[in-house]
Symmetry: C2
Subunit: 420 residues, 2 copies
């Protein structure tokens, strides 16, 4: 497709989305839930078509030689399809975030100023691989009253299209405004054009690896909320309950190493290194973890690989862990603030004072005292579904649920007030 055609196609998608966004914003909770129910039913009813398209994607992925973990993330089966449909049904149960009075004051001049939650408008989500993100993003944006333009990875193209056709067909029949859920052309140039559509699009959420996020941040003239990598840490303080520390570290590293709230680096206070390092190293190795350490750690665990500067920045997403021995809590905090991704970090300590310093000074979305970083999750936080975990500081930080997919406006009621 020529660039001019692509531009005009994307322009038309964005215009439609903007018009649809006004209509979606005006839907009642009842109407939105009806549409969601129709979508969930349709996904289950059309599972054969979806699985067929998914098989095509997988065949192509195998031919292209994609890695096994990537193919695993791409693959759907009956159980996964049911789980996608059930996620929509769970969403139906959640409270509508739109139209809440967040605050209300009456000024001395009699003006009543209400701050009200309202949908953001048009949201673009750019993501990779997992096809469930397609349906999760579409249904969450709808429930929060937004129109959405989705741009998934090319490796899941046919699956994503099948899912989108399915929920759009069922949704439109149940009252979904046309243009409320759309996809952008599967074309590299298309993303760059899309990212300049700040006239129509109110927010871009990129979910994925370093390159995806970099491209979006560099090209976007639209506000971006990054769902970036999770370089999470556990710091074991000198006053830690060592059994608790072991449990938390094993949970945070091994329970599900491929997710963003798993830890990548362990920091241990020097004063307890001699006692604790042999115990934790053995436990980690027993769980299949490959250890990379600084010089001090290597003295205790000579079999570990020497860690390089890149290791401290690394999001392994597998059973690899970097370990550093630190002389004090300040060094731990500075390490986390410098090398981390401001996602989730934990101190294990019985010393309330040390904990308080850590919780205050670590500049991350979620900071833990004596609990696993794996709890950074919309469900675990009691929000219900989440669109992802924001590693940005503005608007939404940490798990981003329905509430964070809304903004606010002020409505001011007067009886003729003029400013003096």
């Amino acid at each position: 497709m020529k660039n001019q055609e692509l531009l005009s196609e994307i322009n038309s998608i964005c215009e439609k989305a903007k018009i649809a966004s006004r209509k979606v914003a005006a839907l009642s909770q009842f109407q939105k839930n009806n549409i969601l129910k129709a979508m969930a039913d349709a996904i289950e009813a059309e599972k054969d078509i979806i699985l067929k398209e998914n098989n095509s994607d997988i065949d192509l992925a195998l031919k292209k030689g994609l890695s096994l973990p990537m193919i695993e993330r791409l693959k759907l089966d009956e159980k996964r399809i049911n789980s996608i449909a059930n996620s929509i049904r769970e969403l139906i149960k959640l409270e509508d975030p739109v139209g809440k009075v967040l605050s209300s004051i009456i000024r001395p001049n009699g003006l009543k100023i209400e701050k009200i939650s309202v949908p953001i408008g048009v949201i673009t989500i750019i993501y990779e691989s997992r096809p469930n993100v397609t349906v999760d993003s579409a249904s969450l944006c709808l429930k929060a009253g937004n129109a959405v333009i989705l741009r998934g990875g090319s490796e899941a193209y046919k699956t994503n299209m099948a899912l989108l056709h399915c929920i759009n067909r069922a949704g439109l029949e149940a009252g979904l405004p046309e243009g409320a859920i759309q996809s952008a052309p599967q074309n590299r140039e298309a993303v760059k054009i899309l990212l300049k559509m700040n006239k129509y699009i109110d927010l871009v959420i990129p979910r994925g690896g370093e390159n995806l996020i970099k491209t979006v941040v560099e090209h976007s003239t639209i506000p971006v909320i990054k769902h970036y990598k999770g370089v999470c840490h556990v710091y074991v303080d000198k006053e830690a309950d060592l059994k608790m520390a072991e449990n938390i570290i094993i949970n945070a590293k091994c329970q599900r190493p491929g997710v963003c709230n798993a830890i990548e680096t362990l920091l241990i206070h020097r004063d307890i290194a001699e006692t604790f390092v042999p115990i934790i190293a053995e436990a980690l190795i027993k769980n299949g973890v490959e250890l990379r350490g600084d010089c001090e750690f290597l003295k205790f665990v000579p079999s570990a690989i020497p860690a390089t500067e890149e290791d401290w920045f690394a999001e392994y997403l597998n059973l690899t862990l970097a370990v550093r021995i630190v002389p004090d809590i300040q060094t731990a905090i500075e390490h986390i603030n410098y090398y981390g991704s401001q996602h989730s970090d934990c101190i294990v300590s019985e010393d309330q004072n040390a904990a308080s310093i850590f919780l205050n000074q670590v500049d991350s979305a979620v900071v833990y005292h004596n609990a696993s970083t794996r709890f950074t999750d919309g469900g675990e936080f009691g929000m219900g579904a989440e669109i992802g975990i924001s590693t940005d500081k503005l608007h939404a930080r940490g798990p981003m649920g329905l509430q964070e997919l809304n903004t606010y406006k002020y409505i001011v009621f007067g009886n003729g007030q003029c400013r003096k």
Copy 2:
């Protein structure tokens, strides 16, 4: 200065700001207020130096042939300097926004999840002309626990530097962390380099005209909250109290036409045009307003200038008003959403149903029923001081005060919880 030198200079400013931001965040309310008091006193004590530098700026501006309104905005006198100092003293009285528990829940597994307000970090403010913005921005950012990098307009360079030296010297003596308030080099290239410093800077706030905002949005890899133009509207519904409408329109247009919350366009329902247009046209003309109208308006007021497409987008910032006769409320709403800047818009109507449609469907930061748009202001909203009016939708919308100069983080307290 060569580019490499400039880059390294800006890098060093940003690094310093990052380090300072951690220290500012840790200051107590008492410490911050002491620093602010010292700054206010110093501005009054050093007013002769500041006025001398301001005179140099004005001499240069006159030589360069800057417009009289621009020179007027640039000019300081004893009264204005006292008012700058007093703004700081007012700020001291406001509540500290940092460290508030915004919500707190205990999960079934015993985890206590607190959402706490925290400073944003390093904020860059890019602005034009008025030198009071220098001190207002610095003091607001400080009170909210942030470090700030300021970049004012070249026409106010000497005045801004004098003010910054003054508040920094007095601030540092009173305990201000070094690097908490800095300025960026006065160089066009410097802004572009600064806008790529997303490693250090958490937020950019551009305050100014179209070109400034465009440059920032195009080049920034840092999140931006735009303080863009105010193309504000009053819509007079067919059920309006016409005397009230007249008062609101005159107030919103004429009381201070050079500010962003003054109206630029008036929309009048066709059904009342014959009665209302002659009245309001006479009142506006009597107040010195130049009228530009659509064909229908021109039939009633033949002396008005025909409005072009550009007029509907225009932020005049002077006594010019565009007027359009609309067939219904939907046309008024669509006009505002299309041509407006999502700042402040008003409906005058006695019909609650019409008002409710307008308030819901107009997609602006502040929507008014029967009150002047001139109330969009931090002080009028009861926030105290404001850094400006956000025309963006994310994080902060409308008046942006101390609370909006904070973000939040989650602090999670456990006793060894691991995820199942």
